[in-house]
């Protein structure tokens, strides 16, 4: 996809390959209303082009961890321990203005419920163009042009039509792609994708994963991926964290964790995946074909 290489704005500051762009160090998240700690210490580092995945039980604190890194914890929740650094900057003392500067351009996110992040009364294309204008200082026409390129980059069939549409006119899968386009519009250094492809059918999911892989390779986008689908994590992530009840029970290189799991809960997740996975059929077939496997 040629336009992707041109997506990066010329004035964007290049990141060095080993620069730490997002670091969480023993981060704890506290629920002040119910007076309990929800996340009991999570640590990982992202460098350009690196992908870290979080898997685990529902309610284990994956989304709260993402929100903490974006400075958008829900009311009554607070970071009660550890530290978070974005491109070397400790977030604890950031003013709202500084956050506005960071969000979208340095750290960006896509969540599972796209509709709640877009304005229902503004055409979706204008919303993306607005992000581009504010974050990159592009002129109106330039911004529109780039927004259309982005809509094409996320494989929407008719970018010009979608540009003019409102959220209620788009299916869930289309909305999710619009949101991904908006999230990458200002060339973020870090992208957080929290169940971002869960609502998509697998053909569209594959296209989006390809797009993220392109951005990762070509412009060094660093990714934090939350997914309940171990196969997506296996395909995309360098490192994986397994969470259960606010605890990171296992963490390591993806191949190591998924092929040689140490913790009982990780083993259970893998067993559950395999019990209802295509692997059963495809691998049986591959064996029959004399060890022929699908392309990796």
């Amino acid at each position: 996809m040629t336009i992707l290489s041109e997506l990066r704005t010329p004035h964007a500051v290049p990141t060095l390959p080993d620069e730490i762009v997002l670091a969480l160090r023993d981060v704890r998240i506290y629920d002040q209303v119910n007076d309990r700690e929800i996340v009991h210490g999570i640590s990982f580092e992202l460098t350009p082009g690196r992908v870290v995945g979080i898997v685990g039980e529902s309610g284990s604190g994956k989304t709260l961890t993402c929100r903490a890194a974006l400075g958008i914890l829900p009311e009554h929740f607070a970071i009660s321990g550890g530290s978070i650094e974005i491109t070397g900057q400790e977030i604890a003392g950031l003013t709202p203005e500084q956050w506005t500067g960071l969000r979208g351009s340095t750290i960006s996110a896509v969540f599972q419920d796209p509709a709640s992040y877009l304005n229902p009364s503004i055409r979706v294309g204008s919303q993306i163009a607005e992000v581009i204008r504010v974050k990159t200082g592009a002129k109106r026409r330039q911004a529109r042009h780039r927004a259309l390129e982005l809509l094409a980059a996320v494989h929407l069939r008719n970018p010009a039509l979608v540009y003019e549409q409102y959220t209620f006119e788009l299916s869930g899968g289309m909305l999710q792609r619009v949101l991904i386009a908006a999230a990458i519009a200002a060339d973020p250094t870090v992208l957080i994708a929290d169940e971002a492809t869960t609502a998509l059918d697998v053909t569209v999911q594959a296209e989006i994963l390809d797009l993220l892989a392109d951005l990762q390779e070509r412009i060094g986008l660093a990714l934090l991926v939350v997914s309940h689908d171990l196969a997506v994590v296996a395909q995309l992530c360098d490192e994986v964290l397994v969470m259960r009840e606010g605890e990171v029970v296992e963490q390591g290189p993806t191949a190591e964790v998924l092929h040689n799991p140490k913790h009982e809960y990780t083993r259970m997740l893998i067993a559950e995946h395999e019990q209802y996975g295509l692997e059963r059929y495809l691998e049986a077939e591959a064996d029959r074909d004399g060890g022929l496997t699908r392309a990796g």
């Binding site: 039980e57 529902s58 299916s171 869930g172 899968g173 289309m174 869960t198 609502a199 998509l200 059918d201 697998v202 053909t203 569209v204 999911q205 594959a206 994963l209 390809d210 309940h228 689908d229 171990l230 196969a231 997506v232 296996a234 395909q235 998924l258 259970m268 997740l269 893998i270 559950e272 995946h273 395999e274 019990q275 209802y276 996975g277 295509l278 692997e279 059963r280 059929y281 495809l282 691998e283 049986a284 077939e285 591959a286 496997t293 699908r294 392309a295 990796g296």
Partner: protein
């Protein structure tokens, strides 16, 4: 129609909208589901899977074609006849989000017995009848007194399945029943669905999650742009897909070990699909 067919859909056309906005959502769809059989319905977003389900339930009118449920031709039914059929509970429906099929202000017990009360069963008798169902969906009796908001997502979805079974339906249509659930709850619900087969109920299982479909379905039907482009046994469709779209679909699903088909292969299939 074979004696054991619970559902027979023949050459079904469905249109949405009127005049200039009229658009075809289903185009000549034919599908048969037998007693005790689970058919997985997969396919592109917007290909018409939910529309097919809604048409079978009489919630969307067909513009052409026949629908026969449990030996009864329902395609020509009027609203009143549909209401009677639904009240009898011959066909039931389970949504992705159990909060949509359960009233938030009604206890689990009352939700479960409601379909029976509508059919004139006395409350005491109804409560006796739902108990064995709880066991079938692995729910504890103590949950009966609670409200839907006091259950986990997985528990709520199991209540929705139990509620669909109360009227001893011939056919249950499940539209993305596990996509909102985490791994453990997903497996739990899928296990329950597999066990249901032995009771003879026919299931139509709609899902984007090919792994779930592969795990529970006997046969798989694939939809693409309003048409049913392929049907076959689950093994046939997954290991030897015929239609270009099915090949793209199966090839796009990541697996734990081998990943999806290569990007070049998928691009080639996509190009073939556009020219087809």
């Amino acid at each position: 129609m074979p004696a054991d067919a619970v559902l027979q859909v023949t050459d079904l056309d469905v249109h949405y909208g009127k005049g200039r906005r009229r658009a075809q959502a289903l185009d000549g769809v034919s599908l048969e589901v037998r007693r005790g059989e689970t058919v997985g319905l997969i396919g592109e977003t917007g290909s018409g899977k939910s529309t097919l389900a809604r048409t079978i339930l009489g919630l969307v009118p067909a513009s052409a074609g026949r629908v026969v449920i449990d030996g009864e031709e329902v395609s020509g039914y009027r609203q009143r006849q549909w209401r009677t059929l639904r009240r009898r509970g011959v066909v039931q429906y389970v949504f992705q989000d159990p909060l949509r099929s359960l009233d938030p202000d009604v206890t689990i017990a009352d939700s479960l017995i409601e379909p029976l009360l509508i059919r004139g069963v006395a409350r005491g008798e109804a409560l006796v009848r739902v108990r064995p169902l709880l066991e079938r969906v692995r729910l504890d009796e103590e949950l009966l007194a609670r409200l839907p908001g006091e259950l986990s997502g997985g528990q709520r979805q199991r209540v929705a399945v139990a509620r669909a079974l109360v009227t001893e339906p011939a056919l249950v249509i499940l539209d993305e029943p596990v996509s909102a659930l985490d791994s453990a709850n997903r497996v739990e619900v899928l296990e329950i669905l597999k066990e249901l087969r032995t009771s003879g109920v026919a299931l139509v299982f709609i899902s984007h999650d090919l792994g779930s479909v592969a795990g529970v379905a006997d046969r798989v039907a694939v939809m693409y742009q309003g048409r049913l482009v392929e049907t076959g046994t689950t093994r046939e469709v997954i290991t030897a897909p015929q239609h270009v779209y099915t090949r793209l679909l199966i090839g796009s699903a990541p697996t734990l070990r081998s990943g999806a088909a290569s990007r070049a292969d998928r691009d080639a299939l996509r190009a073939a699909l556009l020219t087809a």
